[in-house]
């Protein structure tokens, strides 16, 4: 364990869920990461990740878009966000009640050997680690191994067997990690590990698209009234 850590913002007060994965993610991975992050946040749990390109960034972004709080663990000093494009993401994490965590003093530049090391902090901060996409030699797999060593739950999303970036996840599943087959599955598995969700998963897209049509189909009231109702419900959440 590190002797000390630097924190900007706050530290999570609830058990968190780490969503990690490859920097070279595919559109499939990104989509799943975004859905999962939104679902985790929708249940009221914080999302923890590494602010890297690919899955990490997508998970942080989706978490913020869904109005949740999240934490990022950096492999550099808190004054150097890497990659640079994620600086605004880092600022938003702090501004929305989450924070940044690092074991390196300010001024430490990012370096490849520091990233696997910060993974153990991610694994430690989170109660459950969800691996979305990982190559066999990727950092996400390191996080998963460390989490297992700490006796924490690891979930993995299955992928194509012939795609390098899916191989890590499939290996994890073969070795005993729980496969996650969808958002409902995820919420169920998380409630086993973390207890009942702090709040019910509400569909945040309810003011648009599919759920609107469903609401209109069920409602006896006029279209306008039903829409007004949906908006009221959403705003009072």
């Amino acid at each position: 364990m590190p002797a000390k850590v630097w924190v900007e913002g706050t530290l999570p007060s609830l058990p968190g869920v780490a969503i990690v994965g490859s920097r070279r993610s595919t559109s499939y991975g990104n989509r799943v990461a975004a859905q999962f992050a939104a679902a985790v946040v929708g249940c009221g749990w914080p999302v923890i990740s590494g602010l890297a390109r690919g899955i990490d960034g997508v998970a942080h972004r989706a978490c913020l878009d869904a109005g949740g709080t999240g934490w990022a663990v950096l492999g550099s000093g808190l004054d150097t966000v890497y990659p640079k494009q994620h600086e605004s993401l880092a600022r938003e994490l702090i501004a929305t009640g989450g924070g940044l965590v690092s074991e390196y003093p300010p001024g430490t530049p990012p370096a490849p050997f520091r990233f696997p090391a910060r993974n153990r902090i991610i694994a430690a901060l989170a109660e459950v680690t969800v691996v979305i996409e990982a190559a066999v030699d990727g950092g996400a797999l390191i996080t998963a191994r460390l989490a297992l060593e700490m006796g924490k739950e690891v979930l993995a999303v299955p992928g194509d067997i012939d795609r390098p970036v899916s191989r890590g996840c499939n290996l994890l599943i073969r070795d005993g990690a729980h496969p996650v087959l969808g958002v409902d599955d995820l919420v169920e598995l998380l409630s086993f590990a973390l207890g009942p969700p702090p709040r019910q998963l509400s569909n945040r897209t309810s003011a648009q698209g599919v759920t609107i049509e469903a609401a209109l189909a069920q409602s006896e009231a006029s279209v306008g009234e039903t829409l007004a109702d949906l908006v009221r419900r959403q705003l009072s959440e």
């Binding site: 109005g67 209109l216 306008g224 949906l230 908006v231």
Partner: protein, 484 residues
Amino acid sequence: MSVAMVGAEPRAVRIEVHVGAASEKFNLVGLPDTSIREAKQRVKAAITSSGHNFPHRTITVNLAPADLPKAGADYDLPIALGVLAAAKTIPHFSRVVVAGELALDGAVRRSRWAIGAGLLAAKRGWPCLVARSDAPSAARVPGAEVFGIASLAEAVAFATKRPEPTLPIVHDDPADDGIDLAEVRGQPFARRALEVAAAGGHHMLMVGSPGCGKTMLAKRFPALLPFLSDQEAVEVACLWAAADRHRRFSNQPPFRSPHHSASMAAILGGGSLHPTPGEISLAHHGVLFLDELGEFPPHLLNALRQPLEEGTVTIARRGASLTFPARSQVIAASNPCPCGFSGDRLVSCRCSAAEIARYRKRLAEPFLDRFDLRIAMSAPDPDSLLGPPGEGSATIRLRVGLAREKQLLRAEGTNAQLGRQALDRLVYEDAAVGLIGVALRKGFLTGRGADRVRRVARTIADLAASEQVEEAHVAEAIAYRSSF
């Protein structure tokens, strides 16, 4: 007197004819183009065919003002009448607006500028002579006294004794072009949004996967709009004439749907010598449908922003600039991503995250902001496709008409056109203001979005015949601010 068009504005052209010494010469001055120069042959043949003598003298025809370039065969008839008057075959002829092309046998053909002639005549309070087939529509110009004639001989007769003026065509609108909103089954959300958009004149954007009915709904949108007043219909007819497009004179709001490969000039208007109106002006008082909005080049969408806001488009040319009216209502449709299936329930999307990001970036926020209503659509519920047909366009148009009347009593234009001050004068229930505040704090709305919501909420209140904008109206308006 005849008429020339500058842009879509009619300008008077005075036809002066002088008959001089005996010799066969025909001079035409006053910046005529080739089609007018050829008038000589047509006029000569028509006069002879009508049983009159073409004077064997030096004839000089001046089209005044001399510095205004003139084009088209519409000056044939006034020139012929001028020649006959100058040769004293018929009495002196002035204070009449005349437009028409002559056939060699003396028949009068239709003129592009018949409506313009009617406008000019109404402005001056003079009678107006146009081809018989043009007369009923020209007579629709409020205040115009129009005489339809079929031949040069009838025009000559007019000079001696005036017949009864042509009556304007009574309503020519069967309104039944075979498409009706009733054919759209399901999609209650989009249908309601269309009604609100029609009632308040709001620009609207629909985003959804291919086949969910965006285009079908948009094509049926004009049928929800109230009929144009005669004044408006005349403006539309002038713009179409200026673009040299044929459109039956109609009180139906025009519907234009330019393809995304259309050039800037085609959409905004252009042309070097005689700038012509573009699609945005052809859709004046009507609907401009932009299908596949994401495929339109960004510079074009940016160029559309100002005309949409101001209701006019200005084309700058060497020496002068022309302004065409362009108060059209934009209905736009877009796929959520290049392949179209991002977020679809049944079909999975084949686009990479980067492709989707690039696609959405094209629909820059400043442009999206112009849409008061933005709705996300999904494929219709299969059950509803087998269900009963939806409500018909005519019923909805009635409600829209009532809501529009309320708006015209309150302000000059529709709710979509309300300026800042007019917007601030609107009365909102306390709870309604509170709800906007909550939406702003929770990040559902931006400042600009809040203004749009206030306008749309006013329209919803008008549809509900409510004096005050209530909380429920605001809540519904917020439902039309989907983010993509």
